[in-house]
Point group: C2
Chain length 461, copies 2
């Protein structure tokens, strides 16, 4: 049995954690400290050129928490390290996640400092889950946000995810397909992702296909014979213009049997120049219906440039640079303890301070229905007029509702994205969306800070 969302064998979920989660847990266990804690997952700062995030990855977190346990083999391994006491290992053997999860639903936009997910559970359960939760949500959030930037830059042209071969591993390939579909990509080349997530699969041919035939024209004909009604011809293996004329030839042959060539694909060279030349060749040959697909080294910056010059490209395939979020391959997303045993807590480290207490985020809209401002408040507060973003997804270790379909998540993103003013979507140095703190949260933050400084720092000053 394995978890399709992670993707890891269920038996291994317990060990997918940083060692310190386990050593800390043993220390907690030894102290009898396993009261209810709340951890908050949030991103402190925007990576370069980012002004919003897309909530993504919650489904993997829920799947993990529902299945978290330590197999006999896992316990044996831990025993073999010589670090753990038998009573603690016995405790781990029976461990299940029994807590609750509140989160901003996948597909929603959110901003820095806002908790994307809050986990409330016995301290040890919540602590052990840290590594996998950050790993999954950080990745999917980065990829969905990168993809949304591409969709925005392409201004309505369809985009296919071609990233699988150069994402950072198999999990990232599957998550890129999922996250980019949430953000508006139209399809994925990854067949496993397509089958798992119900995303339309897409694909044409590689240069190697052309190279393995005696000539490009022979290769084109062979492909068209197998897929008469869904052929896209890759025209740059030897020379894009010659390739296009060969495609024209095959398109005419397809027409004779009542079929239409779908598109030609450009995969190298100057896309603006080449797409114009290719468009002219196709149009002058009576093939105005044949579309042009471009792929190869594209990201949101390239897409915006092509959109601005009006290159006659109908569809894009986007791969490597989007699939690794190349200009922002990481964020400083963290998972911080904000409450233990009913008492708000925080961290004071320089540049890494956190806000105490379990929270809620309230979003207000203007008269036109556009996002106006978010307020981060305590969970216990109720700010009238704002939409509370965090919803309950697990309670007492059980999911409170069935998984949301990817289509619904995708629709939710569309709805949110259209309510975000365009000025926050510019690709370079976007302004900050206004996010404030409630008065109660501000006061609590000051109080807890004072108290901590009193207990921990006064003797050194």
């Amino acid at each position: 049995m394995s978890s399709p969302e992670l993707p890891l064998p269920l038996d291994d979920l317990g060990l997918f954690t940083d060692l310190y989660e386990l050593t800390m847990s043993q220390a907690f266990f030894r102290q009898g400290m396993n009261a209810v804690a709340t951890f908050s997952l949030f991103t402190r700062t925007y990576p370069d050129n980012r002004g919003y995030f897309i909530a993504a990855g919650l489904e993997a977190v829920l799947d993990y928490l529902c299945n978290l346990s330590f197999s006999v083999e896992s316990i044996d391994y831990l025993k073999s390290t010589g670090m753990f006491a038998n009573d603690f290992l016995e405790y781990l053997k029976g461990l299940k996640f029994t807590g609750s999860v509140r989160a901003i639903p996948e597909g929603r936009l959110y901003f820095t400092e806002e908790p994307a997910i809050e986990i409330t559970a016995p301290l040890i359960e919540a602590q052990l889950a840290e590594t996998l939760i950050i790993n999954q949500v950080n990745l999917q959030c980065l990829l969905a946000t990168k993809a949304a930037r591409c969709v925005w830059a392409a201004q309505g042209r369809g985009i296919a995810d071609f990233a699988s071969r150069r994402t950072q591993g198999t999990d990232a390939a599957l998550k890129m397909a999922r996250a980019s579909y949430i953000a508006g990509f139209s399809s994925t080349s990854n067949v496993l992702a397509a089958s798992r997530y119900g995303i339309p699969p897409v694909g044409t041919m590689a240069h190697s296909f052309i190279s393995s035939f005696s000539s490009e024209l022979t290769a084109f004909r062979a492909y068209a014979e197998s897929f008469p009604d869904r052929t896209v011809l890759l025209v740059d293996t030897y020379d894009t213009i010659t390739g296009t004329w060969n495609a024209v030839q095959v398109a005419k042959e397809l027409e004779e049997n009542g079929n239409n060539l779908v598109a030609v694909r450009l995969d190298s060279g100057n896309f603006n120049e080449l797409s114009r030349k290719v468009r002219r060749i196709l149009d002058s040959s009576g093939l105005a219906y044949v579309k042009i697909l471009a792929s190869g080294g594209l990201d949101e910056y390239e897409l915006e440039a092509l959109t601005e010059v009006g290159a006659p490209i109908d569809m894009y395939g986007v791969g490597t640079k989007a699939g690794v979020s190349a200009d922002a391959p990481w964020s400083d997303m963290g998972y911080k303890l904000v409450s233990y045993d009913g008492k708000p807590v925080m961290k004071l480290s320089r540049d890494k301070a956190s806000l105490p207490g379990a929270k809620q985020v309230y979003r207000t809209k203007d008269m036109k229905g556009m996002f106006a401002r978010d307020i981060i408040a305590l969970e216990s507060e109720n700010l009238p007029g704002g939409l509370p973003l965090l919803e309950e997804f697990m309670k007492k270790g059980e999911r409170t509702s069935p998984a949301t379909s990817l289509e619904e998540i995708r629709a939710r993103f569309q709805e949110d994205f259209s309510a975000l003013d365009d000025r926050f979507k510019v690709l370079k140095n976007p302004p900050r969306f206004p996010v404030g703190l409630s008065g109660k949260l501000e006061r609590l933050t000051s109080e807890v800070r004072e108290e901590l400084l009193g207990a921990n720092v006064s003797d050194s000053d």
Copy 2:
């Protein structure tokens, strides 16, 4: 059943591929084109500031090829897309990899244009494997190379992999542990990776551990009670200097019971300044044996700067920036058809041309045993005086030898790295290691180019 190297359920391996691998395969199948092909995996250009690569990822490729098949569910999914013919699906149902694999062994250094792996198999089998092969080898090569740069910059200080929480997914977390261990890291925080790969696990405590106690000192004492002989105290939750004095207190209490505090960990602030202050406090307290560990935002550039100023740091924990290879999160590694049915082939696309024919790489050394020059030659050539780098790992679909242990791979890297002149290891703009082509390969490249231009381009000029 699942493959620990990938990590994906074995039943899903067939579908982990780009759709076009399958559509091309159907076209090949329809044409009766399934003669023996050779594909070559290589990286065309160095990412910024890179001057060498480390071979890594072969074990995942071999594991994949040994297990590649299409489950009944996979065939059903493909059928449901309406793209594939029944006879082709029947063929896929029985598909196994029956070819051979030649590769540069893991741990060896190699350079641009050199084939890291060559797959020779019936065309369809070799084509279908493209996506996963690039995905795995590209990732592990990038991570191992990044880690080697860190090890070089730390000049003998131990480095632990702390990257799991922010690698791009679960697969990347496991591969980061593996690849960085190959390149000389001493340990990993990821317990699953430690257990699978036999890497020493390492871990201390998080800020949340400190925050969940009433004071830092109480937290330190609680941890030391559980791990009296292996405690590393994180001292920056509130204030690094106060935290260090609390650590001194606990170190003294440990001494009373015959135990020694192992280290303190700095995780924020100016590491050079703080490590000097902390060292002075420890030394003046009779705790010269307590080591200093630094972590947080480190990469090879930071490590080099700390080494150069002589910061008294004994060990490092390296995370996010190494775990995503932040300054070079992708490479242009490709998998190109170089021979089909006994005939050498190549690709001419601008900036993406490839060298025809199955190959061997010969490495020559100078009088001191240092790497002098590599020559890329045809597989059929035998260049005297050079060490052939590619070895056979699979034949007729079976592994020709058992898997190499990670310790052996790590030793092989050490051996190779010490034979590479230091000037190629500088972190910024290293010179290019000299790699040439054999006369036969140069001639073949010209011949094939001429022939292809004749067949595919002449009519457009």
